[in-house]
């Protein structure tokens, strides 16, 4: 009799637990989905809604960069290629500032190390491109002198991501050399 009782009890337990599970999934048919239909059916572009501290692609405002190289030294993965040369006539010149977005770990150490806030994380995250060499973004077009550490008046702040978006590789761009100033190879 005990065997029959446990047999029937197991049937009852199965049916009740299964029905409870079915009730849960059925109840979700009556609730709204949580899907955010990225990229074209969102209430606002996702890039605009990200939190302030969000760590997207890096960008450099060369009007603020002093060429100190703190970011390059602290980067754990060597994604920054910074070249500062001494020119006889013009003094120190920043010849090259390339960031390899493909290597960047998005750790934020360079942002914390920068004394002037020249380098910062934008909120951009849509950087798909056809060739990995295009992920090396050059921020220096022609050699330029570094900015002073304290400038009066301080340069106007540029909107987050504006500098980067002007230089971002497009999805169908042909492969390009890493730095127009250099005309050369991959960022080191």
């Amino acid at each position: 009799m005990g065997a029959l009782a446990s047999y029937l009890r197991s049937i009852g337990r199965s049916v009740l637990s299964l029905a409870d599970g079915l009730a849960v999934t059925f109840s979700y048919l009556l609730r709204r989905p949580v899907t955010l239909q990225y990229p074209d059916r969102t209430p606002e572009p996702v890039v605009k809604g990200l939190p302030e501290r969000s760590r997207g692609f890096l960008e450099v405002d060369l009007d603020l960069c002093t060429g100190c190289g703190a970011c390059d030294r602290v980067c754990p993965i060597d994604c920054i290629a910074l070249e500062v040369v001494k020119d006889a006539a013009q003094g120190r010149l920043i010849r090259r500032f390339d960031i390899d977005l493909g290597k960047c770990m998005f750790c934020g150490l360079c942002v914390e190390a920068c004394p002037t806030g020249a380098i910062r994380h934008s909120h951009e995250f849509e950087g798909g491109t056809g060739d990995v060499r295009n992920l090396v973004v050059p921020f220096v077009d022609a050699p330029r002198p570094p900015a002073k550490a304290k400038q009066e008046p301080p340069p106007a702040p540029k909107p987050l991501g504006a500098i980067l978006r002007a230089r971002m590789p497009g999805p169908w761009d042909p492969p390009r050399p890493s730095s127009p100033a250099q005309g050369g190879d991959h960022a080191a």
Partner: protein, 427 residues
Amino acid sequence: MEQLVDRLAAHWQLGPWGQELLAAAAILGVAALVFVVALTYAGVITWIERRVAGRTQSRIGPNRVGPFGFLQWLADGIKMILKEDVIPAQADRPMFRLAPYAVMLGVFSAFVTVPFGSLLIGADLNVGVLFLLAITSLVVVGVLMAGWASNNKWSLLGGIRSAAQIVSYELPAGLAVMVVVLGAGSLSLQDIIRAQGGAPWNWFVFRDPFCLVAFFLYFTAAVAEGNRTPFDLPEAESELVAGYNTEYSGIRFGGFFLGEFANVYLLSAIATSLFLGGWQIPGVTPAAQADSVLLQLAGFAVFFAKAWALVFVVIWLRWTLPRLRVDQLMGLCYRYLIPLAFVCLLGTSALLLLVTPGSGADLALRLGTTALGGAGLLAFAWRVRHHIRRVGDRVSLDVLQRGARGVFDPALQARRYGAFRRGQEER
């Protein structure tokens, strides 16, 4: 259909050869029609499956290709046809090619006997139920062929498991069907439907409690035969990648896939015919239905609604329940379903002897069982409401902005996980 063929032959005054040709053309025509209907149903079921899967998982299903993603299955079908035809190097090529067709044959042939309406049936065989059970067993051959011919140990395992599963679950399915056949006194599907009525208490499912149990037994066994979760071990993604159809790609895989979904519709249609009153409309006699085109269409609509409701239940089960292990699956069949099926058979036989149909006791039994079923549905609806109220009806990720919803009950937590305390306390 035979009457139609005879009338046309008489009208056109065809000779014996002409009549044979006309009959052949009619058979081919009906076969093509049934095939197209079954394929379309299978495709639409995939659309429903993906939408229901999405909505039960708090997300949207396909919604880009066509309105509400309705053309997604067409796009997927075209994609499959255009895919590269890959056959594994050491595979048994003729058997590999033949396997999907065996599966499709087993499933699509059965559509000929599905009674969509009182006159809308391909062939009303007087051994309809037997034919259905037999022809769907052809699927086993196809599955074994696929598993063997793929030259892949995983596929072989899947194929063998599937074959064992389908063959075993034929037994409770057949026994549950016998319960209905006892009541109707015929194996023909149309006769079984005519023995029922339109109102729920005239359906076979509510004829007596044994028939109610038999309905669930048939449904469970049929879902198992169709390799649907919770019985989809042969296709278990997490264990066997895709079981017997691992090596299949493109339209060959499409063949298996569509065969499986057509099988889902088939089992729902059979369950509707046998248990839920088929095309019977409450208040309308079958004779009246046969005379009026409008009532025929209404009968078709009723059948359509019932069958698709059961299709929805099959899909809903898939996205709720985990998978049974193969020995548990077999154990369920032989230790639970078959004994229960025998009990139902005996019980129904006893009731048939004791209770005369049409009497007051019969009506009381029917109404009582209907009330039981209704009470079950009400309890279920109450439970659904409970779940919505606990977590919230708009489960949304911006709950973080809008604040708390639902009520936390510490006593319930204690009861639920009462055994998990630090070592010192008593259980």
